[in-house]
């Protein structure tokens, strides 16, 4: 099998590596022997961390495995190949009156990536994480061949795979449990808030009654600006039409295209200026709108310039869940740190989370806080302090969102870190599937 050499970059621009890759388009190519060579599967390549390349692995691009294999319009079960993108999947299911309630923010993310990172959507306190909608997986590992796994049949491998960052093998297909869709339009209400804590209060009030509830805050370290933002909340509007369309200009961005501007447009007063214009623009918009489901599920479509403005050097995102009781203190301390250190932060967001922590999956009951920052030395120092804050409040960081997270932090935050290592080693003593991220985290 012929391999090509290609330069891969993590979506945040933090990790770049040359690696050999192949692009199988037939099942026999997936199962073809690569001997004892390390390998890792890549889907859309939207991980902020280098989870789909690096570590000396051959990259197996699975985007050609994007077919719908089975669909039962009675039960809502759909079996799809792992390389299918979320937008492609929903373009099949929405016109038939079904959707997947856990959808991360970008349409080109693949189902395989959603499983491997056990992603969450717009209201994880109500809908949980992606694994809740996975009925069965077809997994290939050279030591086991192709096999089907489910939570009932093989719980350990299932939990090692959902939120296992692709280390248990190549996910070939997934059977997902879809839900009936009341309509293909959403009623979105935007509530203006003045601080992170106010955002949290509002989400706590409205989150339980809505299909989605999250807040976006400006995070520029200035007392007049920091924390101001909007809570977006809403749900499906019952209607007859079930169409899959968007009002936005769809021009997909990818990890290499994100860094096309050689410098960061964000930074210092430029960030302040951009955020002021953004704030004024947002304020001019109506507080209640009806929009296509596509636009509510993928709010970043048409706003990709947000990521390109960080330039070639990229951004840093840190996303953590902290327990409810610690959340207010956490947000106060976060704001204090940002102001004191004058960290080049740009945007932040808050969601409520409900979940059962296990192994390294990003789940627990609490408040999920995300922060986007310009990549620079000051940011790195701030993130070390953030790690300490996360540890001290009993929180967990999302390893897929932060390409610099050290193994030490993960070990301190995730009680089952050592267990995950042990399980992986028992499952695959050769540890054939590996990435820069898995190597950095000592998995």
């Amino acid at each position: 099998m012929l391999l090509e050499r290609k330069r891969f970059v993590s979506f945040d621009g933090g990790i770049t590596e040359n690696a050999e890759f192949l692009r199988p388009d037939r099942y026999r190519m997936v199962e073809a022997s690569l001997g004892k060579k390390y390998r890792i599967v890549r889907g859309g390549g939207y991980s902020y961390a280098a989870a789909s390349f690096g570590g000396g692995s051959i990259v197996q691009d699975f985007t050609l495995f994007n077919r719908v294999l089975e669909f039962d319009s009675q039960s809502g079960l759909i079996k799809v190949e792992a390389g299918i993108s979320l937008s492609d999947l929903l373009s099949v299911t929405v016109p038939r009156g079904f959707w997947l309630p856990v959808i991360p923010g970008y349409p080109a993310i693949t189902v395989g990536g959603c499983v491997a990172a056990n992603v969450h959507g717009k209201n994880p306190s109500q809908r949980g994480t992606f694994r809740n909608y996975v009925e069965e997986l077809t997994l290939f590992h050279p030591a086991y061949g192709v096999r089907s796994i489910s939570e009932l049949k093989d719980p350990l491998v299932f939990h090692l795979t959902c939120g296992g960052y692709g280390l248990t093998g190549a996910i070939i297909s997934a059977t997902l449990r879809l839900e009936r869709l009341p309509g293909s339009k959403t009623l979105v209400k935007r509530i203006s808030v003045g601080s992170f804590n106010e955002g949290l209060e509002v989400i706590s009030e409205v989150g339980r009654q809505n299909d989605f509830a999250y807040s976006m805050h400006q995070a520029y370290p200035d007392r007049k600006i920091i924390g101001r933002g909007y809570v977006s909340t809403g749900g499906m509007v019952p209607d007859e039409s079930a169409t899959w369309q968007t009002n936005a200009q769809v021009k997909m961005i990818n990890a290499s295209g994100r860094g096309r501007i050689p410098f960061s447009v964000f930074g210092g007063l430029r960030t302040r200026l951009i955020l002021t214009v953004h704030w004024l623009t947002e304020r001019a918009k109506p507080t209640t709108v009806t929009e296509p489901l596509y636009d509510s599920l993928f709010p970043f479509v048409g706003k990709e310039h947000y990521f390109t403005l960080y330039g070639k050097r990229g951004l840093v995102e840190c996303q953590v869940i902290v327990p409810y009781k610690e959340s207010e203190q956490f947000l106060n301390e976060l704001q204090r740190l940002l102001l004191k250190e004058q960290v080049p932060a740009v945007m932040g967001s808050i969601k409520l989370f409900k979940g059962e922590p296990r192994l390294l999956r990003f789940e627990m009951d609490g408040v999920c806080v995300a922060l986007d920052l310009v990549r620079c030395e000051k940011t790195m120092r701030f993130l070390s302090a953030m790690d300490q804050l996360t540890i001290s409040t009993g929180g967990i960081p999302f390893v897929i969102k932060d390409s610099r997270l050290p193994a030490k932090t993960i070990n301190s935050c995730y009680p089952e870190y050592e267990l995950m290592k042990e399980y992986l080693l028992n499952y695959d003593p050769d540890r054939l599937f590996r990435s820069e991220m898995s190597q950095r985290l000592g998995l």
């Binding site: 692009r23 077919r67 294999l69």
Partner: protein, 245 residues
């Protein structure tokens, strides 16, 4: 319309199947891999609500599968077109190639395609409307060189076959088209250093589908290859023999 595609589970055949299915055409798909064909058929049926029949067959292994093809065409009540984006290359296709391998390359790239079209020709001529046969050659066959020897020879034979076919079809409703392809973004070219960029499959397939009614004979894709092919043909031998590509 009902179209038959040979080599349907990967590369150009897969892309063509998707384009034709998206226009609502029913399909008969042939490929050596049953598993990939089943996946293709499920996907196309679910997405586009069309009829798809599959025939897992290694077309180089003999013509027995054609009985099954005929049976399905009769069940589907006709055939409106045949697409043959099928082929095989070998990295060691020079004079060191085993004779059996030469036979295989000739079979896949020429004989099996000619055999299939000859057998199914009556179905196309019987239709009261325009039908189409589309073949695919290669830029490698423009002028023989010390690489891809058997492959180029077979593709040149195929081109000659399509010329004859077009002549034979001149008084009928059958349109015969032949695309001479440069580098394409498929796994056949994957990992190989190519002198020029690889063309996107989606654009080629759109062009093929748009051109279905046109009687143009043979064409190069991408079009700039026609100029390169002319240069290659005109290159004097004393220069051509020094070229290593």
């Amino acid at each position: 319309m009902i179209y038959l595609i040979v080599g349907a589970s990967a590369g150009l055949g897969r892309c063509l199947s998707q384009q034709l299915a998206s226009l609502g055409h029913d399909l008969i798909l042939i490929s050596s891999s049953r598993e990939d064909l089943k996946a293709m058929a499920s996907d196309l049926k679910i997405r586009h609500r069309i009829k798809v029949e599959i025939i897992p067959a290694d077309i180089s292994a003999g013509d027995e599968y054609l009985d099954e093809v005929e049976k399905i065409i009769k069940t589907m009540k006709g055939l409106d077109g045949i697409f043959c984006p099928v082929g095989a290359v070998s990295d060691s296709d020079d004079l060191c190639l085993y004779p059996a391998r030469v036979g295989l390359l000739t079979n896949v790239n020429y004989m099996s395609v000619a055999s299939l079209i000859t057998r199914l020709w009556p179905f196309l001529t019987q239709q009261p409307r325009r039908t189409v046969v589309v073949g695919f050659g290669s830029i490698a066959a423009v002028r023989g060189r010390s690489q891809n020897i058997a492959y180029s020879a077979a593709k040149r034979a195929l081109m000659s076959f399509f010329e004859s076919l077009r002549h034979a079809a001149a008084t009928s409703q059958v349109v015969v088209q032949f695309y001479i392809l440069g580098y394409l973004d498929t796994n056949q070219a994957f990992g190989k250093k190519t002198l020029l960029p690889r063309a996107k499959l989606e654009r080629l397939c759109r062009k093929i589908v748009d051109n279905l009614q046109k009687d143009f004979g043979a064409t190069y894709y991408p079009r700039y290859w026609s100029f390169i092919a002319l240069l290659l043909k005109l290159t004097p031998w004393f220069l051509f023999k020094r070229l290593t590509f």
